[in-house]
């Protein structure tokens, strides 16, 4: 049976996941350089071992209020297209093996900004995990339209 590995994390109490191979690393960082006039979903820039990484605030992408970037915030750094890009999340979860059998398309009742970011739902024990469309999730111009 086909199964896939997902890295999971929480935003606003909801469990999200991206496929493990899209993730470069996970780390906590606390100094972000804001980018004035950038789309609101851009949380800031930070220095990852000499590389400048843009952090995308997943809360804003989901239509929630911005992360208060004071103190450490968890970053899920995605390999991205050509250069890494980070997603700011509330909390990091486990890496889980999921059978394709537990997958379902997003429920029809799911609407709003979250609907566009989600490719489907995985039924875990006791809770649901929404699988993110990585490209949509880091597209900072999407939310501003």
């Amino acid at each position: 049976m086909a199964s896939r590995q997902f890295a999971t994390f929480e935003v606003d109490g909801q469990l999200f996941g991206v496929e493990v191979h899209t993730v470069q690393e996970v780390l906590s960082y606390n100094e972000y350089t804001p980018v004035p006039l950038a789309p609101p979903a851009v949380g800031g820039l930070f220095n990852l071992r000499g590389q400048v990484i843009a952090a995308v605030d997943l809360r804003v992408q989901l239509g929630l209020a911005r992360q208060a970037l004071q103190g450490p915030v968890m970053n899920v750094i995605l390999r991205g297209d050509g250069e890494p890009v980070s997603l700011l999340v509330d909390k990091i979860g486990e890496v889980v093996d999921l059978d394709d059998e537990t997958f379902e398309p997003p429920p029809d009742t799911l609407s709003g900004p979250t609907r566009e970011l989600v490719v489907g739902t995985f039924k875990l024990d006791g809770r649901l995990m929404l699988a993110l469309d990585v490209n949509q999730a880091v597209d900072t111009y999407r939310a501003t339209i």
């Binding site: 006039l37 820039l45 900072t140």
Partner: protein, 783 residues
Amino acid sequence: MEDLGEIVGEFLMESHENLDQIDRDLVSLEQEPGSRDLISRIFRAIHTIKGTSGFLAFSRLEKLAHAGESLLSRLRDGVQPVTPETITVLLLCIDGVRSILSSIEENGSEAEVDIESMIVKIQAQMNAPTDAAPAAAPAAEAPAAEAETPVTVEQEASAARPSPEPVADQRQPLGQMLVDAGAAQPSDVASALQQQIEGDERKLGTILLDEGKAQPAAVSEALQSQAPKRSIADSAIRVDVDLLDTLMNMVGELVLARNQLVRGVMEIGDSGLVRSAQRLGMITSELQEGIMKTRMQPIEHIWSKLPRVIRDLSNSLGKQVALVMEGKETELDRSLLEAVKDPLTHLVRNAVDHGIEDPERRIASGKGPEGTLTLRAYHEGGHVAVEVADDGAGLNVERIAQKAVENGLLRPEQVPNMDKRDIMAMVFQPGFSTAAKVTNVSGRGVGMDVVKTNIENIGGAVSVDSTPGEGTVWRLTIPLTLAIIQALTVDCGEQRYVVPQVAVLELVFIDGNTTKVEYASGAPVYRLRGKLLPLVRLDRALGLEVGGDQGVYIMVLQADGRRFGLVVDRVLNTEEVVVKALNTRFKDIGLYAGATILGDGKVGLILDVSSLARRSHLAVDSERENVAEKRGQGGGGTERLLVTAVGERRVAIPLDTVTRLEEFPRDRIEHAGSREVVQYRGQILPLVRLSHLLGAYGEELEGDTVSVVVYSEGGKSVALVVDRIVDIAENSTTARRDAEEDGLVGTAVIQQRVTELLDVRRAILAADPNFYSDAMDDMLVEA
């Protein structure tokens, strides 16, 4: 390529370099057909390729090279003359060699390339003029081991990459030198040589010294004069460009680490550590400079392919083009050179295709039949300028304008007001081409916009200037290097930003007393040595909370030929920063040229000075400034102005429009409809309060009388109410710039204060909308 083995890899690389040299030499040979030097050089290069390909068992390559070599040997021996046809065939042969080489590189075999037809052509060429003896056997004296300079790192400053002569030609034997200098006897040298031949392993100089046949000073002098003559091939090594890039990146990181360390050490203040840190700093700087130098290459590197391009193109178009290169030793960072190559080739092709006319047309317009294409490179203020200039027909501004209108890039009514150069710049718009017919070279409407995009991608700029009948100059302005720039770090709000130092002219501290920011109807300005400097607040430009005007710094910046002041909270220091490209998602903001890691490890944004200027609408202002200046100059010299106070502002009215100055008791002001009027010399005089017209802030002055400026024309008068008459002043019409606001024509510095110039006509119309039309009627009646 990995499975080909090192030898083949090296052969390919070396041969490609040889071929480029042959290309150049062949084109030169066409210019000076008698040059035996060139022929022998080409011959040797091709012989090397032939020799090595035989050794590596690339038989087809060997066969083709052999055919070329045979033709060349006939040229060398003078059996047949050098003609353009021979050159064409030889170039064809070189192209054939090239395609075999790339076939070897791609799939390891040489099988697919058709060489037979080429060989037939070469043989036809050989048999054509005379039926002299068949191709001479390959000359034995051609030295096979000739390493054509493969240089990436050269010891010699002359970067022109001449092909080195064999070592023996350049280097005189030591014995010979000593004899020539009279420091040793020929017989002693001969006997020493004899000893060497017989197995003495000592060096010649040592033998002579040991036997007391020469003075040590003379020997060492001879050795020294011998040493620098070693060939370039001995003093240069081949370095992988990737390795250089890695080194460059690592030095970049080292610079950052050094900056962090120096900062930390300064905080601790230990003098021993400070010294070490300073030493580290110096070494780092030198290392960085050294690495940067290894990446610099003369622009000739990319120009060298152009003579061939121009030759082929002008031949196929039936044009005559002479190429002139100036400043080919100008050096550029390797990565920039790569990026400039294609745009430059495109500009050159375009100049030959569209710029330079046919010989008939040139003669008809009184020029020589041969056009000149000039490539020019030179340093200019932290940039390198590369120009492609032709002496052709020049750009047709009307046609460009017409085309731009047809393509919807311009509106017809815009055209008459546009600067000639702005119209010419339309050719850089996507989808623009004025070529009457599409040739296979250019005219498809792709290209110029790509040139522009490519150059802008590396932080450069493109411009064009042209004089009808005299030619066109395309100019690329390219930054020296991408990787590390000198920059000033500044604070604005909570954040730190980086401003490239090339753009900074000077810094001014605003203490609020002796230096201060002034406002010309809301627009902040600073008086820099009597001239008004428009100011841009960085916090406002970035959409941040706007701070105060005191205790701030003005950075006087120059971008795109415009000067402006950037107001920041604090200027920290100069630093070398490593420019990191910003993610494309920030490109649209347009305010940032990149990002960097600051000394404290945080990311700092590098401001893009020219787009900052553009965004702040400075561009518009400065254009109007020019207009205003021209207008002023047209009027000639100075004008006399009546300076009045309106609220807290000073407003000047041209004195020649003023009829009288009056004071009216406040209670004489009456109302007629919505207007204020006074009775004056048996007339009803409409009043307009400048404070209302200009929206001046401040309370109405309390007092029994009001000051008015009366203006009369054609028997009608209006009165402009001001708070106070200040003075009459002469204004030299310089230091003037136009204001955004209605009712004003501009601002100027008068008696060291910013003064606004009233648009009198507008003010009068505000008082009496019919003022001018009635006056006209009256005049007609009188006439």
